[in-house]
Symmetry: D3
Subunit: 61 residues, 6 copies
């Protein structure tokens, strides 16, 4: 605990995802005073076909 | 805000998904009085291997 | 199936939530050709203390 | 109702997933006294690239 | 890993929830061959005001 | 985009939650190169009655 889920458009590089997991874990650990060993991060990648704002999918823009 | 997630079996056409995002956004906007620009829709597609009711996966029926 | 989750700030009236469930179900049924009996809607209400954009919680604005 | 989501690393065999859905449904039905017909199970599979504990992704270990 | 979420109507007793967590953990451990220590269970309770099927909330039936 | 959900035991102070939202937003913005204005953070608080590891709820320990 805590469990962190980051939902974003697919296509980030391995380096970006590696840094994301490391730095988000650091930010959570520091601000809510949780040991890093207890923090879990999930990345959920969306395609532009399955994500829309204001009624329009990103793949249709 | 609001954020809407629609979870369903994979295989809908692009036309169906486009209409889904448009019409769900319209329905949410109208009923809870939120500007369409503020409404986000996520589609999550499941495979029949990963979805079961009454203890049986859809791929096993 | 489908399963729809609508996440929004708490405080909508019962009438708004009732209409939301009815009209979102209608929109999903029509666009992806699913019988209304098979459609489930979950409303998740957030407090302003637990929701932030651009690094600032809504309760802190 | 209830709706059960099991999130795990990808790679389980069809036999494991079939048994998982059957036995989790049984366990839920028995303990909260819900008919099996009303219980839904979703399996969500994660890749090791998108899952980390203690700041390190499983694919980086 | 795995992470299990059970979403259901509020109102189960502590005894039911305790048994649910124990038996679901057992079922997952056995079927996907994961040590019990690695299995997490979250219970999410819904109110009847925030849950509908076929376009009608349970609180409106 | 991205959308970040942090799930943790209830009981953090407003100051901790404010810092959490600010610093997680910063970490995500920096590592995946997203403008802070586009980043949303949701905090989900769990009770110890509804959260268990290894088959035992935290409220039963």
């Amino acid at each position: 605990m805590p469990y962190v889920t980051v939902k974003m458009i697919e296509g980030r590089t391995p380096e970006q995802k590696r840094a994301l997991v490391a730095e988000v874990t650091e930010a959570v650990s520091k601000t809510v005073n949780a040991p890093k060993e207890n923090i879990t991060v999930f990345i959920e990648e969306m395609s532009k076909e399955n994500y829309g704002v204001a009624g329009v999918r990103f793949s249709d823009k």
